[in-house]
Amino acid sequence: MARDSLRQRVLLSLAIALVVFFGATVAVLEWSLGASLARARDEVLEAQLMALIAVAEPVEEARSLQLPEPPDGRMLSPDSGLHAEIRDAQGQVVWRSPSALGLEFVLPPPGEAGARDQWLQAEGEGPGLALSSMTIDWEFEDGAVASFRFVVAQSLEPWRAQRRAFRIGLVGWFGALAAAMLAILAVVLRRVMRPLGSIEREIREMETARREQLSSEWPEELRGVAANLNALLRRERGRQRRYQESLANLAHSLKTPLAAVRTLLPESGGSTPERLGMIRAELSRMDRIIGWQLRRAAAGAAGGVGIAPVAIAPVASDLAATLDKVYPDRGVSCELDIPGAMHFRGDESDLQEILGNLLDNAWKYGRRRVRCSAEVVAPGSIALRIEDDGAGLDPARATEALARGARLDESHPGQGIGLAVVNELVTAYDGEVTVERSGLGGAAVIVTLPGA
């Protein structure tokens, strides 16, 4: 339930409310209509009864009644649903409509003259009957008076059919109305919720580093949320910048004295006491430890939110230009084969650090040629390949070089921590570093990174 969308929740709640509301409406309407239909039915029955009494004719000598022609033609045909009979005071049937063939009316006890009764009678498998009776005293011509009971019965079928039709119509119409209402609501909700979907999409884009901050075109209710989120991101980024700044300052303040101490020590010569050599070695070690820790700590943007994608080609060509300047005597020619549209999703300085260390190694260990290429290996994943034509790096040494950062205390003087730093950074981005032999003859280092 917690994962359902707001839209689904609103629609579900409204659907339940509509069913309850319309259900109750249908029930009330049906009840009240059923009552008025029953009233109408009883009035019709009453009219039939009066008509029956009106057409009855006396049979003087038998002190009885006869009906030459029933008031309604339906009373003549069986199964017409309209029946009538006349009973005398003893309950004997005096006259019976032909339609009532095979029917037995169960009458309540007769009352005084003028008493009326109305009741319903079940009818086996049939739909049941509505009955109406009236007892009247009939005065014959000779002044004799006899009591007769007039009964009219009507099948409940037409009334039932009416109610059924009404119920079907009611439920159908209200159901259709409810469905239409839900559909309209769904459309309205989709419109109302669209900005929420957009905000979610933009946040997702920030997570995958395709966007730096939320855009500003929001409905009034969301503007505050977006602005606050952007402010939070800015603060967070500022904090990260300050953190990196302070690390850099720490590096400066630590390393300058180290450099000073080193300058004070004589560089070489037999007269240098052994102790000085040891101090120098310790200084180197301290420097390496500080350098390692700072580089590790400063490489922190991996997985950060709101980082703009970095074009790779300009970073690589800047580094190549730098290395050309730094190693002018090596005469290395560098081939860059990186599509202009290729981007790295992460921090620019991390990319500079990764490529810088790898290219620096290639320049150092290569003879004449260095190649740097990049390709998309999977959706969202790119591979950078840095090759040289030097002596190459055998797998055992490559593994050692990749892991060096972990074993600083036994590190070898004169060997950089470049590859280990690269490994650390690439791992932080869930990437991988592999070393193989290059087609140029030397080492090929391949790193996979998030990008496109």
Binding site: A248, S253, K255, A259, A260, R262, K325, D329, E348, E353
Partner: protein, 228 residues
């Protein structure tokens, strides 16, 4: 050879300047960017060593200002920030090389030699004049394949002339480059050292590597191997 050293840490600056002087450099020291810019204009150094983290005017601004003056002064930056971002930014701003603190003084000196050599138009690390060969990075001079033993000052004098082979270098320019400011400009030590160099490089008097142009100065007269 004159170098400008801009570094705000006094201990490092003094130590470095001492090591550079011991290697025969004339060093102008500045503790901040503004002073560095002033000295660069005033002393016309051959190379500058600039720390990136400077007060007043950052190293990067100083380099930009130096480049704005359209001077070809080679610049080596010193940085504590061992990140490629800073190296790339420094070299893009116009620096020619960088060193990360802490560094070996010897390596710094070798890099400075290389910068000066390159800015004088020599792409190769060895300056080859056939019988005479110079290797500025190691301050090695060979005559007929045998090393020539030179004092630090003699080497400086020779290097200055060699890097300007074919050009006339005046006596006062040499004094500016090779001596401290308070040097007695009327003394004749330059003549004495040129005489000593000639004896060491050309004992038989057949090669004549250094010409004297009366009233104008000196000229290194040999032609580089492979150049005419």
């Amino acid at each position: 050879m004159r170098a400008l050293l801009v570094e705000d840490d006094d201990t490092l600056r003094h130590g470095l300047a001492a090591a550079m002087r011991a290697a025969g450099w004339q060093v102008d020291e500045a503790a901040d960017g503004r002073e560095g810019l002033y000295l660069a204009a005033e002393m016309a150094p051959d190379v500058a060593v600039v720390d990136l983290g400077l007060p007043q005017m950052s190293g990067m601004e100083l380099i930009a200002a130096l480049r704005g003056d359209k001077r070809d002064l080679p610049v080596l930056i010193l940085t504590a920030r061992d990140r490629w971002q800073d190296k790339v930014a420094g070299l893009k701003a116009g620096a020619d090389d960088y060193m990360v603190k802490p560094f070996h003084t010897e390596e710094l000196l070798a890099r400075l030699e290389a910068l000066v050599r390159r800015s004088a138009g020599w792409a190769q690390p060895v300056l080859d004049f056939g019988v005479l060969r110079f290797e500025p990075a190691t301050q090695r001079v060979e005559l007929h394949g045998k090393p020539v033993d030179l004092t630090s000052f003699e080497y400086r004098l020779l290097e200055y002339l060699v890097l300007r082979a074919g050009q006339v270098v005046s006596r006062s320019e040499l004094i500016d480059r090779l001596y401290d400011q308070d040097y007695d400009r009327d003394s004749n030590t330059v003549e004495v050292f040129v005489g000593r160099l000639r004896r060491k490089l050309d004992p038989e008097g057949t090669l004549k590597p250094i010409e004297t142009l009366r009233g104008r100065g000196y000229r290194f007269a040999l032609t580089p191997a492979g150049r005419d």
